[in-house]
Amino acid sequence: MPPPQEPQKIVLPGVKHVVAVASGKGGVGKSTVATNLALALQMHGRKVGLLDADIYGPSIPIMMGINEVFDPNTTAFPLERYGLKLMSMGFWVKPESAMIWRGPMVHKYLTVFLTQIPWGELDYLVIDLPPGTGDAQLTLTQTAPLSGAVIVTMPQEVSLIDARKGLEMFNQVRVPVLGIVENMSYFVGEDGKRYEIFRHGGGGRKLAEQAGVPFLGDIPIDPRVAESGDLGDPIVHKHPDSPVAKTYLELATAVSREIAAAGVPAPLPGLQL
């Protein structure tokens, strides 16, 4: 008879799927994609949470219109806005305060967000990662039962180089890459025509083909995306009939499909010594 095996530590027991939104490069619109993807999933009738894992530069509070700091001793987290459950370091510290922390502190607070915040029953917990392949990414892949990662890139080669690094990191830690999204991909003019403003568009699709992962879609650039984000009312919620919002709804469908196809990764076998 084999010795008893210790099950892997499980966090987020009521969450069916944890999805990381990542990129190697900063400034490609990860937080915008994560926020609008979470809302689009919710508009598909799912219960969704959004965790801002960018401890140094949280963006979710502004994008979701929550511009105040809460006392963790008297406030029940996660907060809720537009039907999404939300957690961010920005709810605990003032926006002008700089978080000057080394990796272990990032690890500590992310672990608190993942294991001590009562997320309850959710179909999806979308995690907005900071750029890079550092402490936050490692903590997440070591602590959370990730169903997969969505890689966000822009059409330019400089963005694609870092997106490749993100892909490689998820491969190394055996987290399925659900696919690649090309953000700010093209512009739709008032004449309804599509303009390839970066000329060499399609880099995200090529990267997906090279890496053998699905291409989940390209999202047009639209000034209303930034305006809505700054006003705390993301475009999928504020302008649900806009072309961008429709693209996000399609992205949510694609992400759900890929999660279903990938299945829940089996935990590693344990061993009681």
């Binding site: 530590k9 998820f170 491969n171 055996r174 890459v177 935990p267 076998p269 010594l273």
Partner: protein, 116 residues
């Protein structure tokens, strides 16, 4: 994503660990070999230094070293917590497979020329 995965783990007496892999291989590892090849930054650095003949042993090094816990890390590796408190090494599945001490793998390692 790498397709090779660990199916089950078992103890080999007090001396070691065995892993059954998805490709059918049965790898064997002594705890001593695993500790000697700990992948943490501190141990890697130490292995690159010349041996210090005047090193003074810590009290925790006087008793025989043994593993206390083996914890899965994400979907990609294991952390071993040792009796001297050391626990910072994460052995990826690929690394564990490379460290297999079965006669077949040992022979293969000897036949292959060292990489630069």
């Amino acid at each position: 994503m790498p397709s090779l995965s660990a199916r089950s783990l078992s103890k080999q007496g007090d001396e070691g660990l065995a892993i059954d892999w998805s490709d059918g291989h049965h790898s064997v590892h002594t705890w001593q070999h695993l500790r000697t090849n700990c992948p943490c930054a501190g141990c890697r650095e130490e292995r690159q230094q010349p041996p210090d003949p005047f090193r003074i042993l810590k009290p925790s090094e006087l008793s025989p070293l043994k593993p206390v816990r083996l914890e899965p890390v994400g979907h990609y590796g294991y952390k071993i917590v040792w009796s001297d408190g050391h626990d910072s090494g994460i052995f990826t599945l690929e690394h564990l497979r490379e460290l297999c001490e079965c006669p077949s793998c040992q022979g293969k390692q000897k036949r292959e020329p060292p990489t630069a």
